[in-house]
């Protein structure tokens, strides 16, 4: 796993939000906008291992409205809603 701490969403030209990432394509987390998340939600994302530099990959989408998203984070697969995925900026690997 490559960990790069220098990536920054604001200045990175290729960055996009996690919900825009295609199924099966990998990306590194550039930044997470913790402020738009409620405390317990932010806590959970941390628990799932969301962190800058971590490799993520959308695996599946919910059948109705392509929501929620099943995302591989490290060795775990977690489900989060599209609205929360928007808080995560990623840079394609």
């Amino acid at each position: 796993m490559i960990i790069s701490r220098k990536m920054n969403a604001v200045f990175h030209p290729e960055s996009l939000s996690l919900d825009q990432l295609k199924v099966g394509s990998r990306a590194h987390v550039a930044s997470i906008d913790w402020d738009v998340l409620e405390h317990s939600e932010a806590c959970r994302l941390r628990h799932f291992g969301f962190d800058e530099g971590v490799l993520v990959e959308p695996l599946h989408l919910g059948p109705f409205g392509r929501d929620p998203l099943a995302i591989r984070v490290g060795r775990m697969t977690v489900a989060i809603r599209r609205s929360h995925a928007r808080a995560v900026r990623v840079v394609p690997a």
Binding site: S40, R46, H47, F48, H60, P63, P68, R75, T77, V78
Partner: protein, 615 residues
């Protein structure tokens, strides 16, 4: 006397913690509640090789000591020695999933920092190997500074090694535990990743089983179809598989009744034993096979890992109704019984989501309604197929379940826009790896359910049946008058009758509604008891309850009765658990009010529609 050493079993969700706890303690478990909060406390006893007993407590699964839910808060408080009703643990067993060390080691590191004597159970090493991952437990033990034991809890592997390590640890002199502030979560997470990476001997890239299965089961089209099929098979099976055991139980109770009739002289005592006790309890116990089949499916879906996938598929629909996919599991459990379902809402972090889920949970058709549905359907719906092997009776049953689900979704939608407004909920869940369930764990779960049900049949239901028998037997009717009309119960139900007459209910139904508050299935034994007492000739006495109902109730009344039971909050236990979970009488009172109103309207609509259609 010194209390037994207390060993806490802790770990992240999906680490296989409960299976390990089952493997260590066997069936000798106590299930209770932590005082003041509604988190279940599972404890059990383990005897070490030298005969020393140890108390084991299974803590709720948690990702860290920074709680994001009520369960996690209890885990933290027990571990820090702050939880009322629990002493500080003397030692810890930390369960981690071998194939998810990057994540699970974070919590393990946090726990090791507490300074208690600790063992790490490196669990599910078989699944890690299946994914091509080889780990070095020695290297891991060195990095963590505590013993690491490889286990496969569901197959009961590595348990003797774990017990031996526990023995060693409890024999060693103890250092006082530290309770200082935990390290920063982000730093711990990064260290966890480093240690996890260092413990890997080899990793061969294989297409993971779970991913392969998910691409089918979570497929946007195939996934929902499979989910619907599973639920449909589940409810058909509840009918089909239960027929044989049901007939055995029926025969058994019939033999018992015949035996007692021959043994006892005719009179009040015989009437009490045969009509009251055997008739009443028998009419309820006969549904044990169906309840167990339903629980079998629910436990199976849970232990394989499919239950969370069902939540994933349903989340968007649940979200439209103002709920979260997380509510799907409590609501699905409510198909078995609303009481554990409502208790399971504690895993919903958002309080408004949780309250809404609690309020609509009684609309999910619980197993106590099955006796009512089964009897009425068997008596009034013809047993024929509508093509392709689909039975009409099963179809009506499916329809009743569907009506409950639709009612719950609409009620949630309305509640979320009126009384429980605001605060959009979250859906954040881990999708665990698929796993073959352990027969032993399934059997233990089923056994616990069976005992709970039989205990209910032996206490609440037996008591209510005897009380009702007395109300229905006294005073004795003079010749030429019906016993049902003359008795005390007859007079009470006259009051109820006045209210429910407009929705097509007859006098017998109003007689059953009051005792059915104790438990829904009592409605059947109540009607059974009434007819048993009321039958004057022996020919009628040998008729089944269904046959007798068919003779006495018009079809619209039977259908209205079914519609009533889809919505009515006929259950004291559910009301009591709602009071406990919402900390007051406000919400249970509201729940009872709106559900009775819905039941009244639904039954009335059904009755008058059926009459209008000329059924």
């Amino acid at each position: 006397m010194n209390p037994l050493p207390l060993v806490a079993v802790a770990g992240s969700p999906n680490a296989g913690k409960s299976a390990l706890f089952n493997a260590l303690t066997g069936a000798r478990q106590k299930v209770g509640n932590y005082p003041g909060v509604t988190v279940e406390r599972h404890s059990g006893r383990l005897t070490l090789a030298d005969g020393r007993p140890v108390e084991l407590v299974d803590l709720p699964g948690a990702y860290s000591l920074d709680p994001a839910s009520l369960d996690e808060a209890v885990t933290r408080d027990v571990l820090l020695g702050r939880q009322a009703g629990e002493r500080s643990p003397d030692a810890l067993i930390i369960v981690v999933d071998a194939s998810n060390l990057d994540n699970h080691l974070r919590f393990a590191l946090q726990l090791i920092e507490l300074g208690l004597p600790t063992i790490v159970a490196l669990n599910m090493v078989d699944l890690a190997r299946r994914d091509g991952l080889e780990l070095d437990p020695g290297r891991l033990a060195e990095a963590l500074g505590v013993p690491v034991i490889e286990t496969i809890a569901v197959r009961r592997r590595g348990i003797p090694d774990l017990q031996a390590a526990l023995d060693d640890m409890l024999s060693a002199p103890r250092c006082p535990a530290r309770h200082d502030a935990p390290s920063d979560l982000v730093k711990l997470q990064r260290r966890a990743r480093e240690i996890a990476t260092a413990a890997v001997i080899s990793e061969s890239p294989v297409r993971r089983w779970t991913h392969r299965l998910d691409s089918i089961l979570l497929h946007p089209v195939v996934g929902p179809v499979i989910l619907a099929a599973i639920l449909f098979v589940m409810f058909q099976a509840v009918f089909a598989w239960s027929q044989l055991p049901v007939s055995w139980i029926e025969d058994g109770f019939a033999m018992l009744a015949d035996g007692m009739t021959a043994l006892l002289p005719a009179g009040l005592l015989r009437s009490l034993v045969v009509d009251g006790v055997i008739g009443g309890v028998g009419a309820v116990v006969v549904f044990l096979p169906q309840i167990l089949i339903l629980f079998f499916f629910i436990l199976l879906l849970e232990s394989t890992g499919y239950m969370v996938r069902a939540a994933f598929i349903m989340d968007k629909l649940m979200h439209w109704a103002g709920l979260s996919g997380r509510a799907f599991i409590p609501l699905l459990s409510s198909f078995a019984c609303a009481v554990p379902g409502i208790m399971a809402t504690r895993t919903i972090d958002n309080q408004k989501d949780r309250l809404t889920t609690i309020l609509v949970a009684p609309l999910m058709t619980c197993s106590a309604r099955l006796p009512v549905y089964t009897l009425i359907i068997a008596a009034f719906i013809p047993n024929r197929t509508v093509g392709y092997g689909v039975g009409l009776q099963g179809l009506v049953m499916f329809g009743l379940y569907a009506a409950g689900v639709a009612g719950a979704l609409v009620a949630a939608l309305v509640l979320r826009r009126t009384i429980v407004r605001g605060g959009g909920g979250a859906f954040m869940m881990e999708l665990p790896k698929y796993q073959m369930p352990a027969i032993k764990d399934l059997a233990l779960g089923l056994l616990q359910r069976a005992m709970i049900f039989l205990k209910r049949a032996g206490t609440i239901i037996l008591g209510t049946t005897i009380l009702l028998w007395a109300l229905a037997s006294f005073p004795q009717a003079p010749p030429g008058e019906r016993q049902v009309e003359a008795s005390i119960a007859g007079h009470i139900s006259n009051g109820i009758y006045a209210v429910v007459k407009p929705i097509g209910f007859n006098h017998d139904i109003s007689l059953a509604l009051l005792p059915a508050m104790a438990a829904r299935e009592v409605a059947i034994s109540a009607i059974g008891t009434v007819y048993a007492i009321d039958s004057t000739d022996d020919a009628a006495g040998s008729q089944s309850l269904g046959d007798r109902l068919r003779g006495k109730w018009p079809l619209p009344t039977a259908l209205a009765f079914l519609a009533w039971f889809v919505f009515a909050p006929q259950c004291i236990s559910t009301i009591a658990v709602t009071r406990r979970e919402t900390n007051g009488w406000k919400w249970p009172a509201f729940m009872v009010g709106y559900l009775f109103a819905l039941a009244y309207i639904a039954a009335g609509l059904t009755y008058w529609t059926a009459v209008w259609l000329g059924l």
